[in-house]
Symmetry: C2
Subunit: 172 residues, 2 copies
């Protein structure tokens, strides 16, 4: 997959628009080889410890959680609006029940800077190395958020991912 390196802030508005509509695709590959992806609607981009950083949140119950824990890395893939059906499917089905990559015949490539896969069809990908893990704490959480999102616990783990590279599809 031919891609060019871009700044992590590249097309942020489009990334946020997609995050807030269908979602982005979070992927991770275990050292033993298996890959999984899930749809995420939450995340934050910025600079932490002087490093470009993508913070993603994953519940421990999610299949992807095992993959990120084992891999210590992940990729965030920004789909196009045309990929909506696949993205919504990946947000509603667990990788425990279906191999989402095979199901949709998705072409993937090893990351440039990580072992985890990236999705060829996504025009923008962030490759990240986990540098901090931090669980959402009920004791200091807004009461409305606590009631709405955590009636059964399963508090998200926030992964601070150092962005090792941001890559855009090269139209050349």
């Amino acid at each position: 997959m031919n891609r060019k390196t871009v700044p992590f802030s590249y097309q942020f508005e489009e990334t946020m628009r997609q995050l807030g509509s269908d979602g982005l695709l979070l992927a991770a590959t275990k050292p033993s080889g298996g890959s999984n992806l899930m749809t995420i609607g939450w995340g934050a981009l910025g600079l932490v410890w002087g490093l470009p950083t993508f913070v993603v949140l994953v519940r421990p119950s999610r299949f992807t959680y095992e993959f990120i824990e084992a891999a210590g890395e992940f990729t965030v893939n920004v789909p196009t609006p045309a990929m909506s059906d696949m993205v919504l499917f990946c947000g509603s089905q667990s990788g425990r029940d279906v191999d989402k990559i095979a199901r949709f015949g998705l072409r993937v490539s090893r990351g440039h800077t990580v072992q985890s896969v990236t999705l060829d069809a996504c025009p923008l990908v962030y490759e990240c190395r986990v540098v901090q893990k931090n669980d959402i704490l009920p004791g200091s959480l807004d009461a409305g958020i606590l009631a709405r999102f955590y009636p059964g616990g399963d508090f998200h783990r926030a992964y601070y991912g150092e962005i090792l590279g941001t890559f855009a599809a090269d139209p050349e």
Copy 2:
């Protein structure tokens, strides 16, 4: 101060450029009335719990920490490059020793959505309500980051701020 509401993703690249150079100005006002500001070089912007969110990190030793803890809110103010001297000063001096707002004769306004002040000279401000507090954990922190930034502990507290409003200076 006349400002217009803009999306939280407005001028993200410029916000990140400023964050990574001189820094942004984090301000908070205690319910009892006092305000303080500090310069931050780290932060992340995105969507969490379906809410526009600004994550900022503050060490417990910082004077501003007391203000955010008391206020439960903060503002992030994006300065212009021309404000460089003031921004650098605010990053090197503690509000315990000098009233930075008075020192530079900064004009401030109460936020539109929070009680904390915003800086009139800053063309873009984010007004945030704290919805989660989460301390950086040494046990799951990258060893290089741990050694470089925390030889004396004083681990940052990450404040997840729901962005209640993003406001840009209105040139009209």
